[in-house]
């Protein structure tokens, strides 16, 4: 469903596997930087129109940039990857919550042109680590069925102990 555009002068980098046990991430910050990918944790440097384009490219409905700004201003943790060459965001993830007990991860996206090289894992691993460092140990998310396999290796379990994720639907007929 996504057209994977290939940038002609862009070669898929092969990130080396971590050789040292001190590197807690699959791909280190240094490896990322050496290939032109820079990590960011705030919205200060983030072009929301570019971010919106990435959302649309992966299939999200286009949302009002003002609302996106409002959402990000009230997001306790976020992580995104800036591609040096274009200065654009190519991967993004954020988490909302109460800052002490619970966090939910939303809007995990990787620009289709940059998928398959580990950037999704990059943002997720670091976002989880940031949340853990705040003492939050209840980390949840809602996963589309086709990406359950992306979240499982990261440590996510669906419906643990029979707990079900539920979403409110205005159209849902209420039983009396």
């Amino acid at each position: 469903m996504l057209s994977r555009g290939i940038i002609s002068n862009f070669r898929t980098p092969t990130f080396p596997s971590p050789t040292t046990t001190t590197c807690k991430y699959s791909i280190s910050d240094e490896d990322l930087e050496s290939r032109g990918f820079f990590l960011r944790r705030t919205i200060s440097d983030l072009n929301l129109d570019h971010l919106n384009s990435v959302f649309v490219a992966v299939g999200f409905p286009r949302r009002d940039p003002e609302k996106i700004k409002l959402a990000l201003e009230h997001t306790e943790s976020m992580l995104w990857v800036k591609y040096e060459k274009t200065q654009k965001p190519v991967a993004f993830a954020r988490a909302t919550g109460d800052g002490v007990f619970n966090a939910i991860i939303w809007d995990v996206v990787v620009d289709p042109s940059f998928q398959g090289i580990g950037l999704g894992k990059t943002v997720m691993e670091r976002l989880i680590q940031d949340l853990l460092e705040k003492g939050i140990c209840n980390i949840a998310l809602f996963s589309e069925p086709r990406v359950l396999g992306f979240y499982r290796p990261l440590g996510f379990v669906a419906d643990p102990d029979g707990i079900r994720g539920m979403v409110y639907s205005k159209k849902q007929k209420k039983k009396k």
Binding site: H74, N102, G135, A140, G155, F156, G165, M166, Y168, S169
Partner: protein
């Protein structure tokens, strides 16, 4: 904490009848201003404006069988554009000795953490550090509470107030809200109060234009939330948790 077992009434009947005196019934519609020691500052009480249809539904019930009823707004109110009052009386009942008990709903988030801790104990939840509990409440987008207020007509101004229910929601203020920590005092379960509280919370969120309201339900309360309009695994979307410690 994950959404826990709330009222799971065997019959989800929202209308409960209590014996009451007819002159007391009018007070169902007036906002109740509570003065009490609280952890957080009191929010200003907004005016209580209720639609005529609402009043009629209460009045017709009262005239029919001389009883008070839980205020279960008719479904026509779902498209209501008037802001919901922040605090209002959900149900009122009178004892033969003249003592009146009101159940008050509030979305103002005035929660005494010590009272909340006691309530969590009552439903059997593990203890959490009070400071963290306070921070969690402060960082929540909306905190809905149910309080029981008891007073005797003889003791003017002297009333007993206690927390009997709570639900809170975190949000990014724009797109998503997630409901956590829904609980009702076991002595008050089975009366439709949990249902009413969550319904009001949802309505407040919708009025603030938060389109996506979600929660994680223990298996035994999935039906409870389904009856409130929640759908599990919509379009196959699954709730996932990171290394849940079970």
């Amino acid at each position: 904490m994950l959404t826990h077992n709330v009222a799971t009434p065997s019959s989800l009947c929202p209308i409960v009848s209590y014996d009451c005196y007819r002159q007391v019934s009018n007070r169902l519609l007036f906002p109740h201003n509570l003065n009490h020691e609280i952890w957080r500052a009191n929010r200003k009480l907004k005016g209580c404006r209720l639609k005529a249809s609402f009043w009629e539904s209460i009045r017709s019930g009262i005239l029919k069988n001389n009883t008070a009823q839980i205020i279960e707004p008719p479904s026509t109110l779902e498209e209501e554009e008037e802001p919901l009052p922040e605090e209002f009386v959900l149900v009122e009942k009178s004892q033969p000795d003249g003592e009146v008990e009101q159940i008050i709903f509030s979305s103002g988030g005035d929660v005494d953490v010590y009272e909340l801790e006691a309530l969590c104990d009552k439903v059997g939840w593990p203890r959490r550090p009070l400071s963290k509990l306070a921070t969690a409440l402060k960082n929540s987008y909306m905190v809905a509470t149910l309080h029981s207020v008891r007073k005797l007509p003889s003791s003017e101004g002297n009333e007993q107030k206690k927390l009997i229910g709570m639900a809170r929601a975190t949000s990014d203020h724009a797109f998503n809200a997630t409901i956590w920590d829904v609980l009702v005092d076991p002595s008050y379960q089975g009366q439709g109060l949990g249902k009413a509280m969550v319904e009001k919370l949802i309505r407040h969120l919708l009025q603030r234009d938060i389109g996506n309201i979600s929660l994680f339900a223990d298996s035994q309360v999935v039906e409870f939330y389904r009856n409130l309009g929640f759908e599990p695994d919509p379009e196959g979307i699954k709730g996932m948790f990171w290394y849940p410690g079970y």
